[in-house]
């Protein structure tokens, strides 16, 4: 059964058409990459799925239900979590506190003013799990704002994971990172995908990452659908090569 079905969505900003009649289906357990040259409309496309924007035309179906008009928080409740191109975390709190908030919200405790010892213990244990999974345990009690970019990004991904999403959207997870950090984040994503059987859609510029991770790739160009297929298909696709003008270092 298809998890995400995007049906012919378009987004207009005044006279600018950022996304033009794009469709996509994602199956459970899949890791899908969305690529395209700058200005291809990738992030706008993501925003339509996550609810940051609503499409001008078209529908977004998640798990068989129409979520096109739902607010971001409600989409999160249904199981769509995301990260941002520019890392969005809680900078003046520690990693542990960042994760704790995510776990509590995911557990439905967001309006609770009192918590039993048991519930509190469960939350803390889950936070420890997430820390271990991401290798952030040693830095758990440092303020996120003081950490390196890669650790902040890892924290953001783990916060999204804490929501127990059925679909994880990653917007350029390795943007602005050095080689080592890019490698670490790529390994983390691969681990989540393999071990947790998580369905992931990611936007990425770094073609090494894309070809290393993705099951299937969709290519956008100037807001329009250009191609879709396995990494091998895409690498061999002439239209894609033309769009990138050889810029994609495979």
């Amino acid at each position: 059964m298809t998890l995400l079905r995007v049906e012919k969505v378009s987004k207009h900003f005044g006279s600018l058409i950022a996304v033009n009649d794009v469709s996509m289906t994602v199956e459970p357990g899949e890791l899908r990459a969305v690529i395209g040259p700058n200005g291809a409309g990738k992030t706008t496309f993501f925003n339509l799925i996550s609810g940051f924007l609503t499409p001008t035309f078209g529908r977004v179906m998640f798990d068989g239900e129409d979520v096109t008009q739902l607010l971001p928080a409600r989409r999160v409740w249904r199981g769509i979590a995301r990260t941002f191109q520019i890392t969005e975390v809680f900078p003046e709190l520690t990693i542990r506190e960042n994760l704790r908030i995510a776990v509590e919200v995911a557990s439905g405790y967001r309006l609770r003013v009192w918590q039993s010892q048991d519930a509190d213990g469960e939350v803390k244990a889950r936070v420890v799990d997430l820390l271990e999974m991401s290798g952030l345990t040693e830095k758990a009690d440092r303020l996120v704002g003081e950490l390196a970019h890669g650790d902040q990004r890892a924290t953001e991904i783990m916060m999204a994971l804490a929501l127990k999403p059925r679909l994880l959207l990653l917007d350029e997870p390795t943007a602005g990172m050095g080689d080592q950090e890019t490698y670490d984040i790529t390994q983390l994503i691969r681990k989540l995908h393999r071990d947790q059987k998580l369905t992931i859609v990611l936007i990425e510029h770094d073609m090494r990452v894309v070809f290393h991770l993705a099951d299937r790739i969709m290519v956008l160009d100037q807001g329009k659908f250009l191609a879709e297929g396995t990494p091998q298909d895409i690498a061999a696709n002439e239209a894609v090569q033309a769009a990138y003008l050889g810029k994609a270092a495979a």
């Binding site: 928080a73 999160v76 975390v89 704790r100 509590e104």
Partner: protein, 318 residues
């Protein structure tokens, strides 16, 4: 971690010790008990504002409205309905909180300077009602002809009217309850969602927190406690006038919070204490205390933006 916890406990102990013994040292250092009551009442107001300002990250510049409504609610209860201090306080809280709950939905979608501008403008409605509705509110002259009343506990009476120390302790008990509730809330999962909103609204939204609704709740809580402060302020003075509702009063609360330190729990109380003492001193020394107060605002912004406790904390934790 351990050291910070210890410091926090020591600080809490010190605050409660100082507050608990205030009537016994205040006169010794040249003050008077009413000045202490005033500092605690306005401190409660500033701490309530800070629940929203410092812990939810929402810039309200209109808290005087709910402070004033609390004050008028309490005063009018005694003046027109029932001679009971307890009922007066309850009415004050109710009036301020209900008004905040009603206005909330109109403003919670706004942010930053716009939120500030709209909250301050809304406050003016209540100011003009109090100012114009002479027959009921006493207009510009204020609501007079009433006093706070002794509290009847059945077996004994506490004369808070003639005994300023007894009144101070009544204020302190209510202060403790209010502050305790705020601290409790901030340590709960709900309180942490407020921190999340302050830290990064976009992230909070995409964790599944309905941000507008949580800001609304935080706004109501904050305004509820500030209206308690307003009710106590009316009882303290046995008088209310429209200035309690005026927008400059809102600015006073904000400067108290900033002066003491917005990011620390006790900061606004310290800020209020400094503000109250300074205002008391300036207005007795010079006709032009307003200029000095204005200068004080400017200097704080330029040189002490983190507030007194913010600076101390920076020195303690490098």
């Amino acid at each position: 971690m351990g050291a910070i916890d210890f410091n926090k406990r020591a600080a809490n102990l010190l605050v409660w010790l100082l507050l608990g013994t205030m009537p016994y040292w205040m006169t010794a250092i040249g003050g008077y008990v009413e000045l202490g009551s005033r500092a605690v009442v306005l401190g409660l107001g500033a701490m309530s504002l800070n629940f929203l300002l410092g812990y939810t990250g929402v810039l309200s510049f209109g808290h005087a409205a709910y402070f004033g409504l609390g004050a008028y609610g309490a005063g009018m209860m005694i003046r027109y309905v029932a001679p009971s201090t307890g009922l007066a306080i309850a009415t004050g809280i109710l009036v301020g909180t209900v008004a905040a709950a009603i206005i909330g939905p109109l403003i919670i979608r706004l942010r930053g300077v716009y939120f500030a501008m709209v909250t301050i403008a809304f406050g003016q409605v209540f100011y003009f009602i109090a100012f114009r509705w002479n027959a009921v509110t006493g207009g510009d002259d204020g609501l007079t002809g009433w006093t706070r009343l002794p509290i009847d506990l059945g077996f004994t009476q506490i004369d808070i009217l003639h005994n300023p120390i007894a009144f101070y302790y009544l204020v302190l008990v209510l202060f403790a309850v209010a502050v305790g509730i705020m601290a409790f809330l901030l340590r709960s999962p709900f309180g942490r969602t407020l921190l999340a909103i302050r830290e990064n609204e976009r992230r909070a939204r995409f964790l599944g927190i309905p941000v507008d609704r949580h800001i609304w709740i935080s706004w109501i809580i904050s305004c509820g406690f500030v209206s308690l402060a307003g009710a106590l302020y009316a009882l303290l003075n046995n008088f209310v006038d429209p200035r309690a509702l005026y927008w400059t009063q809102s600015g006073d609360f904000v400067i108290m919070a900033v002066l003491g330190g917005m990011r620390s729990f006790w900061g606004p109380l310290l800020g209020a204490a400094i503000f109250v003492v300074l205002q008391d001193y300036l207005s007795s020394q010079t006709e032009n205390w307003m200029s000095f107060l204005g200068l004080f605002f400017v200097l704080i912004v330029l040189f002490f933006p983190r507030g007194v406790l913010g600076i101390i904390r920076r020195k303690v934790t490098p």
